[in-house]
Symmetry: D2
Subunit: 312 residues, 4 copies
């Protein structure tokens, strides 16, 4: 069994795509190749069934089957985190238990859409955390651009105080740099408040700034995981300018993949072109690339290749 998620978790946890064939069925051959692709790029862990994994479009059974398949394929080589967000607490707790039984390192939960006040958010997590029990490590996914649920640092810190299983903050509010700094500062200034792990999302669009402000790594689905790994490693070893040089080289495609909603189709296509999977299809309803989009992407990838050569 791999290490469980904890306050000490570091590095790049890639958010895995879910490969589908043209009929919308899960393409398990591509699931195999994708796992090897990610591990080959040096990721510290893999997160499955996230928003980018199109989990909400899968049936309950499919999600469970895909989870078990991925756990087996990864086979303990790196920790696996499972996204379990669901409108029903029951379903959430069931998938959490099933995942941990299968050897997952922890689970990721985003607050349900429609939670309006921070009191509601706190109460919702109380229900979810108590349904799962204290032994399942939890990552709070703070992604209001998609959930439309907004939380202050005070409210998140209250969860950290009250629930020891809350060990990680997936940071992807935007603008969110001030929030990241405040989570770090409040924990630094208060011995009674645990310092949780912070991994950042948004495709890594603000990765250098976030690492400088105390993030421990990234949890996002950028189609060049090796960039995320290298930047995080270089930051850790103190070679910050080199890290930024690498980041800047990839920034045009980071930005391009970061188009809300639409970017998923781009990202799957890049993974396909790079051999990570055989089919770039998103499950319906999902974005589809036009001929212009394909050509535009090709241009960006060619420029990236040239720029990387130039830098060596």
């Amino acid at each position: 069994m791999t290490e469980r998620l904890s306050e000490k978790t570091k590095g790049v946890y890639i958010i895995s795509a879910t490969p589908f064939d043209d009929d919308g069925a899960i393409d398990y051959n591509s699931a195999d190749s994708l796992v090897e692709f990610y591990i080959d790029k040096g990721v510290a862990g893999i997160t499955i069934l996230g928003m980018m994994g199109e989990a909400s479009k899968m049936s309950t059974d499919e999600a469970d089957a895909f989870m078990h398949y991925m756990m087996k394929r990864v086979n303990g080589r790196v920790p696996v985190v499972v996204g379990i967000s669901d409108p029903g607490i029951n379903n959430m707790a069931r998938l959490a238990k099933s995942s941990m039984d299968a050897g997952a390192a922890g689970v990721m939960v985003a607050p349900m859409s429609g939670l309006k006040t921070e009191e509601n958010i706190y109460n919702y997590f109380t229900q979810a955390l108590e349904a799962m029990g204290p032994d399942i490590p939890v990552c709070y996914q703070d992604y209001p651009q998609s959930t439309n649920v907004f939380i202050s640092v005070d409210c998140f810190n209250k969860m950290v105080r009250d629930y020891s299983q809350m060990v990680m903050f997936k940071h992807e509010d935007c603008p969110g740099l001030t929030k990241l700094s405040k989570i770090r500062q409040t924990a630094d200034q208060d011995d009674s408040l645990r310092r949780v792990s912070i991994l950042v999302g948004n495709g890594g669009l603000y990765l250098p700034e976030e690492l400088a402000r105390g993030a421990d790594g990234a949890m996002t689905g950028f189609a060049f995981p090796e960039m995320l790994v290298e930047v995080v490693d270089l930051f850790a070893s103190g070679d910050v300018e080199r890290a930024k040089d690498i980041f800047d080289a990839y920034l045009p495609i980071v930005r391009y993949e970061q188009q809300p909603g639409f970017g998923l189709a781009t990202r799957k296509e890049v993974l396909r072109r790079r051999g990570g999977m055989a089919n770039a299809a998103t499950r319906a309803p999902g974005p589809i690339l036009s001929a212009i989009d394909h050509e535009e992407l090709s241009g960006i990838l060619t420029r990236l290749e040239n720029r990387l050569k130039e830098m060596n």
Copy 2:
């Protein structure tokens, strides 16, 4: 087999609650009694797995099992409509087919949250309708207060023109009276546009106005279905003032049940008190009545009883 949904569908299609026990499991005994309760009150049809049915909190399997159970229990005495809204087109089409195979009269679809433009709404329905095929009658649920998806009459009419299976409009935008009138007027003025069935929601809060503007009935979950039935019948028979007297007598509880989100707990409690089901629990996360709420509800129900006596 019962009549299928069509442009001619009329009357009260009650939206059924889904009964749960205290552990959150489906309470099938109460499902039995609820079916009898509804049929006993004279409803023309029953709609299951709607928003009020807490469908989004059920697993794929549970929803399918509940659908089959209810179909069997109703056993052709009235038509059954199945809510199939789901983030994934695949899941939606699968439940639609399964429901029709089991004898359903048609399906109800609300646009997926997150659809922003009317072009997006139209394209989403194109995908959904083509995945289901032309033989499944569809009701468009226009409930933007919950979905945050807004549609003009022009865009809905385009669907009616392009897809013959689009036979019903579940009207619950608010304010929405002008929209209802416009759907009727545009069809009246254009021979090439089918006049669809319109059933109204929102607990019937504007039922008299809506019937006067051309609605064919109601599809909502008000816990006194006999009021909806009587008002619709009296309107049909031309006794409009008596219909309004009845409606006004119930209005305090109509209004009270209509508190967004929270009203579901009230409605299930009323159904419990009236013998429709044994347990009023909502599945987590869901609203829970406090002692004050219970007492307040009792006061409203006592006054209703008195008012009804007074009127006879």
Copy 3:
């Protein structure tokens, strides 16, 4: 000078419409008649330049001129509260000062649209309250259906603790009954927390329940202020069932006026028909009643008249 807003404020503060002529200019003759209409109905105070007053569609100068005109017309007969919500703190503070100098009893502030977390709401009010200074009594308008800004009781209570000028809560969240009870309970259980005045909005749609839960009155624009006054008075004198009888008689029109956004046109038309003002026009862009709407409204008003006769 009239009494200032305080924790002890009670009764009905009617939200005044702003009368416009057909060209959209302020109709000052109707402003005169409207003041007399309201005072004649027994209101305890008048609130001007609220959302219902179409304040956001007035220029800065117009708002200031209208405020001065109304202060002069009311002439100290009842307290006047001024809505000062504005995207800019400067403008807000300027109108607050100008209003208090002219003899206003206090000001009403809704949080700016776009505030996402409760930390942001608190910080926004800190800026606003400090710009106005401690001597201007403030009413917090909690109307998330319009502002899309949601606040927990804890965050509101923090403002009450930190700013002595925060003396009133205008309650119109929906569902909001639990929130109202919680504001009362938290103050009852904690001597260090002031018990603020709570006046309710939403056209009075839940007035009996709100008064039973501890509201001190209403601040809303229902076109029959005498109903609000009578219900509040009867509750205060303990004649609760009679209060509810009155309320229920008016409920069909309360409900009808409460159609979000659209209801303003109805309300102004009722005020016009009742002699409150000469022209029911809303300023563009605003709702406009169709012939069907006019007829529908007539029917509701006729039934109200009949019902009131029947009750006496």
Copy 4:
């Protein structure tokens, strides 16, 4: 008098900041220096009182005074566009007329927040355009991230067909590249549909892709207008790879300024550091840079300087 906005308008229209001093008053000396700064960088035009210009926080009089001041300072050297978005049609039309009388080239209008259907958007613009009359050229600002109003190409094209004064589309929906292509394609394929000018926003984050898809330039507030100018010019002259090299060099700061809401403070600080204005303050309520933010920005600017040197 300068050229008026038309379908042929091209190049970079910089969105001007509004400089404030520490008390929140307009800093007119900085307005002078800012005009010179922009013209010196080679912009084709200047847009004032946009969202970035904090127009909604100015009083009606201030906005009018600032407009007149800027018109006089620019003094016909480049065309000036005036943002006139306002909740009231009256105010909007008044500022439009006042601006055109003062020599403006045209006006920019964003749809009012709260418009839900495309029918509502169309009707709103009908009211606005008819209030202004056919002689004032209008730019439609499509910025749903801020307005929460979403429009399809079909609805925009209908405005273009029905109102000859609709001559420009300010493109800043995101994802929005497909929309831009579709506006161009629909006009190319239909002789009866005018080809309008498209200038792009979002700080230029997708400028190369947008120019390749047929945009005529940019209308945005990026603090290095010379980059926008050079990229647009190089694209026009066919030197696309050089244009992308320049763009990529600036991309780290483009991205950094593009943090929603917060970016305004960064942008004003960059303008201050570059000598464009004496004070970077935003008017309350507005974002404020922390010490960490300042240092982070310095690092990004130093790297930009180095990268630009390296490229020459």
